[in-house]
Amino acid sequence: MRAVPFVLALVVVACAIFGVGRAIGSSYAFFLGYVVVQYIVLGTAWNILGGYTGYVNFGVTAFFAIGAYSTVALYKLVPAMPLPVMVLIGGAMAALVGLGTGYLTLRLRGVFFSIATLALAVVVQTLITNWDFVGGARGAYVLRPKLAPLIGGEYVQYLFVVMLGLCVIVLATARAIERSSLGYGFAAIRDDEAAAEAAGVPTLRLKLIATTLSGGFMGMAGAPLPYYVTYLDPTSGFNLNYAVNAIAMPLIGGTSSWLGPVIGAVLVGGLQEVLRVTISSAANVLVAGVLMVAFVILAPQGIVGLFKRRPK
């Protein structure tokens, strides 16, 4: 499938999903759908750096929360700003931080890079906890409008549509990368950086592209969050659950293809919801963690890998 038909297919699927949601007509379906689609975006964003180039980012919450808190700040400054614009700005902020992080840390390899990103998450959380304008440690309230603009119905439907649109963009980008020179360059970096350089791959530049894109998309995934939760404090914005899920979902679904994070997000997100309803949300991190460890050990290629035919 070429790029344009693929994007059209994604749009059709997204419209169909929204249509089904409307037909069901329960706001619960939209709240649940939002979470799953948000994790598709977050997992795919993580995978652009972690899966394609092999640089494992533990600092997911930093980028996600930058998006979310950018929306809180914009809400206070320009309450009437349309949500998609807030998403773009939140994404741009997170992309900038991604670029900066890349510059500072990408000479680090392997686990040292991961530790640096973990430190970044701590630094950003400390900064935001001490930033009164966005609520500091107390948190901030965001009034969710009653009705959805443009499409009508409850506002959560609008949140869902925005996240679906974002999902289409992120998946189309991820798939385009896989099939382009950029994707080959990323794979070369993941497999052997010195050999990639020797083959002419400008590794530093490609890694900066990856950190910027990945960070930006994570920020976009977080940007609508304040409207979803209506009350955002650092404990929820920087929740460990986001980081664990963003890493676990691609690993479970498979990091080598855009489809992997989708499968992982639907599966793990769905399972977590079942458990949340039947038992409690306390098990969320545990579920993702246990599944991730199981897959890393037993099926390192993820679910996608199980179905890929091995060459004869």
Partner: protein, 248 residues
């Protein structure tokens, strides 16, 4: 003919260990040079310093009229330097065809097209990769992954990947180790053929038969210093060279 590569006083240390000291080497356009020396004498380290995989602390490397100091390895590759790694470093998750594709995408097609240089059109890349694999005798495994190769085949893949970059200077670092007599002959013929197409060749090798057959000039490294450089037949009779080899 003019010098394509000039190495001037290159020195490299690993901690307190001096791996290279004051290396001078000049390679003329179109030459085939052999570089020999006992194990650990610094041959691969010199290659790494020339190609930018390692940074030399002292000295200079000039290539095609330009100083390479401070240039990243990928920039040197684009300027026309290509090397094989003695310990193969394949892209493990890619097929052989894709392995060879990387330098075509990032070196050949990243250079400015113009007189003397053409890009490989997108729909011709796959065929070009298969041709290159064919040249080193890996056609049958073109769609396999490196993990399905023997160490020896991986060396051939290294050579194919270096050739794919369409270099001005090709450095083959022990690509023949472990090959059968007939295979050594094939690689010798390949290197001479590439040289005939205008590619300058530096060959690092322990197989003396191949060294003598390929080299028009021979340089010898011992313990990080160059102790001889000249006509191959004279160099191998040089008492210092003989002592270095028999003494180890």
């Amino acid at each position: 003919m003019s010098a394509l590569l000039t190495v001037e006083g290159v020195g490299k240390r690993f901690g307190g260990f001096v791996a290279l000291e004051g290396i001078d080497l000049e390679v003329k356009q179109g030459e085939r040079i052999g570089l020999i020396g006992p194990n650990g004498s610094g041959k691969s380290t010199l290659v790494n310093c020339i190609c930018g995989t390692l940074r030399n602390e002292t000295g200079k490397v000039r290539f095609a009229g330009e100083t390479l100091d401070g240039l990243a390895a990928h920039e040197r590759t684009r300027r026309g330097l290509a090397r094989s790694f003695q310990l193969p470093r394949p892209f493990g998750s890619l097929t052989l065809v894709e392995n060879v594709r990387i330098p075509i995408l990032y070196t050949v097609n990243a250079r400015k097209a113009g007189p003397g240089h053409t890009h490989v059109p997108h729909d011709a890349i796959d065929a070009r990769c298969r041709d290159l694999l064919g040249e080193v005798g890996l056609s049958a495994k073109a769609d396999r992954q490196p993990r399905d190769l023997t160490q020896i085949e991986m060396r051939k893949l290294e050579l194919a990947r270096a050739m794919a970059a369409e270099p001005k200077l090709l450095i083959a670092d022990e690509v023949m180790a472990g090959l059968s007599h007939a295979e050594v002959d094939e690689i010798i013929a390949l290197l001479i053929r590439l040289n005939g197409q205008g590619i300058t060749v530096i060959m690092i090798e322990h197989i003396m038969r191949a060294v003598m057959e390929v080299s028009q000039r021979l340089a010898v490294l011992v313990a990080g210093r160059k102790i001889a450089d000249g006509d191959p037949r004279e160099v191998v009779r040089n008492p210092e060279v003989v002592r270095a080899y028999l003494g180890e």
